[in-house]
């Protein structure tokens, strides 16, 4: 303590001088905009070097987190690419290719009106004759079969939903190829009934049910749904409940498929009926 007092007594002038100078410089720096900015600039120049080092180190330590973020971003980007490709496929129109003899043309459509709660459900599409939509074209959602176009005006068209008791669809089981007629029993919008499968056929729960090309409307191989359960009815046929692939409650964007050779096929078939 005495040493400290001695020290203070001995250097009181210097201490006082430094104190006053400190106050003066503080006033200069805080009171004048120019000096203030100079000091800030100078201090930044000094601290920037240290900050760079700190940032580099931090970045290194955070590499794991950054990697995770990048991976997540990658996944998101890949997903969006996938969506884009899908969209492009949907926008695919027919190409006049005389060698390939394209049979089916595809176009996209948006459902603007839909119902699932009636016995005879229809949906409305925002495309019509002007966009090339005609009666008896197939309507397919990204998940599976949705319905058939039954009428079209210039810019709109009406589709008969699969959820319509008048709807008949020729479909087969993928594992063994036996085909039957698919109808909706008007009860649950998630299930349809596949009839006319003979009882000697082995039916597997979980088997995929897909379309056939017999009707000349749907291309073959479009998924309808999955066998949910089945029972023997009177007669020789199974009554197979099919869990529908398409969720009609959230039907939004669909593909519309037209068969270019439908008339030819049907005309020929008429000759021999």
């Amino acid at each position: 303590m005495r040493n400290l007092l001695n020290f203070l007594a001995r250097y009181n002038n210097l201490i006082l001088f430094l104190l006053f100078e400190g106050i003066a410089v503080y006033l200069v720096v805080t009171g004048n905009t120019y000096h203030n900015s100079r000091v800030i600039k100078g201090v930044r120049g000094i601290t920037r070097v240290a900050e760079e080092k700190i940032t580099n180190t931090k970045n290194y330590l955070n590499l794991h987190e950054i990697n995770t973020n990048l991976a997540m971003e990658n996944v998101a980007l890949k997903n969006s690419i996938g969506r884009m490709i899908k969209k492009e496929n949907r926008l695919f129109f027919s190409v006049s290719d005389t060698i390939q003899q394209q049979q089916y043309i595809y176009t996209t459509g948006e459902i603007v009106n839909n119902s699932t709660n009636k016995q005879k459900n229809f949906f409305t599409l925002s495309k019509g004759k002007k966009q090339g939509i005609n009666v008896d074209m197939a309507v397919v959602s990204p998940e599976g079969v949705a319905g058939i176009i039954v009428g079209s005006s210039d810019n709109y068209s009406i589709g008969m939903s699969l959820l319509n008791i008048d709807f008949r669809l020729s479909s087969r089981m993928k594992s063994n190829g036996y085909f039957g007629s698919l109808t909706w029993d008007g009860r649950d919008y998630r299930y349809a009934i596949l009839n006319e499968i003979p009882q000697h056929v082995t039916v597997i729960v979980g088997d995929t049910v897909e379309t056939t090309s017999y009707s000349a409307i749907f291309p073959a191989g479009i998924i309808v749904g999955i066998v949910s359960d089945f029972e023997k009815t009177g007669g020789d046929f199974y009554k197979i409940r099919v869990s529908l692939a398409t969720d009609f409650k959230k039907l939004n964007y669909v593909n519309i498929i037209g068969n270019l050779k439908k008339t030819e096929q049907q005309d020929l078939e008429k000759l021999y009926q």
Partner: protein, 168 residues
């Protein structure tokens, strides 16, 4: 004692007024900005306590700052001048030392002594003031020229003032 305080107060007021009203308004090619108020620090008694000198210096500087709109610059310069004054006085002390109660004066210690004394303190004061003002070393020699030219004018004025004060 009271008498001398009064005398210094009058000198203080006169110098501040001169500085603020006249010398601060001199626009002479941007190189010459004389600061004559430093004369008050020169004239304070030789034996004044260092800490009182520092206080007075700080106060003078703040006053000039207040009138010049330059926060802290003059205070920093005058405090430095007040700090070095005792050392300069000791450095240039005459052979028979200072008389008790003496004030630095041209009349007593001669023109040459007063000139050295004035030049040293004025240059130190101006040096710190001008560099504090520009606050960078980019135009070092240009600022140095300003320091020297302004010091020349300040010293000239102080010597003239001291000369006429002596005659009074």
């Amino acid at each position: 004692m009271i008498n001398s305080i009064l005398r210094y107060t009058i000198i203080f007021v006169i110098l501040i007024l001169l500085q603020v009203l006249f010398f601060n308004n001199i626009q002479f090619s941007g190189y010459v900005n004389p600061y004559v108020y430093i004369m008050l620090i020169l004239l304070l008694p030789v034996e004044i306590s260092s800490w009182i000198l520092l206080f007075i210096s700080f106060f003078i500087g703040l006053t000039v700052d207040f009138f010049s709109g330059s926060t802290g610059m003059h205070a920093g310069a005058t405090v430095a001048a007040g700090f070095v004054r005792p050392y300069i006085l000791r450095f240039i002390s005459p052979r028979d030392s200072y008389e008790p109660g003496a004030t630095p004066s041209m009349q007593i210690y001669g023109f040459r002594w007063f000139l050295i004394y004035t030049v040293l303190i004025v240059v130190i004061h101006h040096f710190i003031l001008f560099y504090l003002e520009v606050f960078r070393f980019a135009d070092f020699f240009r600022t140095l020229l300003r320091v020297l030219l302004s010091s020349l004018f300040s010293v000239t004025f102080i010597l003239l003032a001291e000369y006429y004060r002596k005659g009074r």
